[in-house]
Amino acid sequence: MSILVNSDTRILVQGITGSFGGRHAQLSLAYGSQVVAGVTPGKGGQKFAETVPVFDTVAEAVAETGATVSAIFVPPPFAADAILEAVDAGVDLVVAITEGIPVNDMVQVKAAMQGSKTRLIGPNCPGLVTPGEGKDSHGGCRIGIAPGYIHKKGHIGVVSRSGTLTYEAVWQLTTRGVGQSTCVGIGGDPVNGTSHLDVIRMFNDDPDTHGIIMIGEIGGSAEEEAAAWIKDNCKKPVAGFIAGATAPPGRRMGHAGAIVSGGQGTAEAKKQAFRDAGIGVAETPSDMADTLLKMM
């Protein structure tokens, strides 16, 4: 078991003929994931990597291939439209990898998605991986841009706003012989589709996930909200890390969401919320896996 996606998940890629989307679609295919369709308006009828059919619209791709998840690799000016096209086509999950989408576009996307059955992950996220059974976790479901081989099939759920920090946690687990159920990057933007808490709830309900690593960063209050829920509801051990203790207030640290304003969203406040909720706090990013393993 896993959350959101598994080895059988049928994936379509919007922007598959672009260099970024194409490269990562290729890597997902090489990982053994079921990339069944691509969408690039005007390029319908072509084949990607000689095997994957390309369609003009998401609706056609879904009708022809039964894809249930769309990965968005289209450039920022067109990303909001691409997300809503996938929602309109009725896919279960949209994973928006695109970095640099205007915030107001995402405000509109979020409002437009009210009441739809589609879940959005991202934008500005590394995507998600459910590791497979094969060598270097081959045969799993890789959607997005994470390196597949660092994973190992197992029972730890990982959720994070940051890409490379997720890889760091996953790699710490894998090198200690501990595998992962699913690893989810929810993205670093201030308006995103899925929160830490949404993912934690799914991990809590997944019988195959036995422990959770939650990686947060300065800014906003999503980590505090997740911590409050964990305190009352989570049946599984959770370890966490917050990046940005040394970031100066008021400066945006790479991620648009990572900004401390008016004393809100500081690393110390978030760590305290974690401690209050019984979440193990990794004092350095080198201790994320060990902090969780000590609790299990």
Partner: protein
């Protein structure tokens, strides 16, 4: 992207927001002519405001001892004199840091009689992903202090992004501020104008503090944006070419501007250990672990997912132009990037820049063994590290020993 007060007022005025009459100038002659114009319109009091991207101007001090970056005066001669003292001078406020900022423009405006002060802001409420407009009767105060001590004095109205700010919402806010009579309709026009300016120009923040009821020369009362702060969402500037032109590069750190040319995300800090990392989250975490092991980070630097040799070389040059740097930590999780390619990029950059400071490199990911081998076999003085903790300890120790 931040802009100056005078630019913010120009943007707001386009959306029908009332601002005090005035103009920004960069010479004493222009100052005299603007002041004379205002005087001829019947304005007996003028205000001269230093234009820098930092708050606390009124209580600031110029490096030559001249007090106050915002000054009131009564005559054209005085206005020209004050403008002359400010222009080209360097203003230090609680927000500029000890070096202060050079004043290249001053805003000369009518200082109308203020009858009442309010606060107004529009921004994104991250918690619900909706725009929020906030007003308060506590105008002219530090709003963060108001939020902490008397949160009930901040009134919020959330906006449906499909509809925009509705007039009934604006009327609610106007009444919450205690406005009556014709001032209610003035407030509706102003609030909707401010919201539209924020939404249509992809603002990050519009803040008007204070928003004032002022008495015009003809005796009427007017709701006016006496100060204004506007910043924009960088990701949306591609569709606002006119607003992008408002950028004042002299207000930004030269190293950060240089980094931007190479798509590097660099922010200078005060420490002595520089870091070069791929990914924003990992870059922040690397700064944190440097501090944890007794060092002090000199910068945030995210080279992005697919850093090229040119980017790595540019990054080294930028890091090395900070005179406080005494050591460098490179931390790359080469997920998709290959570590051997990164390693040769680093070695080339070290050679090209003639690096003489301690350098610790931690590589992880694809082809990591080949990457480490390249570094270990190099005749250059590069210390290889195994984990993030190992790397942070090694660079902190190396810097301690060298000093």
């Amino acid at each position: 992207m931040n802009i100056h007060e005078y630019q913010a007022k120009e943007v707001l005025a386009r959306y029908g927001v009332a601002v005090p009459p005035g103009n920004a100038v960069s010479t004493v002659d222009e100052a005299r002519s603007v002041a004379a114009d205002l005087a001829s319109q019947g304005h007996t009091k003028l205000v001269i405001k230093s234009q820098i991207h930092a708050g606390g101007r009124g209580k600031g001090t110029f490096t030559d001892g001249f007090q106050g970056g915002v000054k009131l005066c009564n005559t054209v001669d005085e206005a020209a004199d004050i403008a002359g003292r400010m222009l080209g001078n360097t203003l230090v406020t609680k927000q500029t840091g000890p070096d202060g900022k050079q004043v290249n423009k001053v805003l000369i405006a009518a200082a109308e009689e203020i009858l009442k002060e309010f606060y107004l802001a529009v921004l994104l409420d991250r918690a619900c992903s909706k725009p929020v407009i906030m007003v308060s009767t506590e105008g002219g105060m530090d709003i963060e202090e108001v939020a902490e001590k008397t949160p009930e004095k901040i009134i919020k109205e959330w906006v449906n992004p499909g509809l925009g700010l509705m007039p009934y919402q604006a009327r609610k806010l106007a009444r919450a501020l205690g406005l009556t009579g014709s001032l209610i309709n003035q407030a509706v026009k102003l609030f909707i104008g401010v919201y539209n300016a924020w939404w249509k120009s992809d603002g990050a923040l519009v803040e008007i503090n204070p928003l004032c009821i002022v008495r015009k020369p003809d005796g009427s009362e007017s709701l006016t944006a006496v100060d204004a702060k506007v910043s924009f969402d960088d990701n949306a500037l591609y569709r606002h070419k006119d607003l992008a032109g408002l950028r004042d590069i002299t207000e930004e750190s030269p190293l950060e501007v240089e980094a931007g040319k190479y798509d590097l995300n660099y922010i200078k800090l005060d420490g002595n250990i520089a870091c070069l990392v791929n990914g924003a989250g990992l870059a922040m975490a690397t700064m944190d672990i440097i501090q944890y092991y007794g060092g002090s980070p000199a910068n945030f630097l995210d080279v992005g997912g697919g850093a090229s040799k040119e980017q790595v070389t540019a990054a080294f040059k930028i890091i090395l132009s900070d005179p406080n740097v005494e050591g460098i930590l490179v931390n790359i999780f080469g997920g998709i990037m290959q570590c051997d390619i990164i390693a040769s990029g680093i070695l080339a950059a070290v050679e090209e820049t003639g690096l003489s400071l301690p350098l610790v490199v931690r590589l992880e990911g694809t082809n990591v063994a080949q990457g480490k081998k390249l570094i270990e076999e190099s005749t250059l003085d590069v210390i290889s590290a195994d984990s993030l903790a190992d790397a942070a300890q090694k660079i902190a120790n190396a810097v301690k020993q060298a000093s």
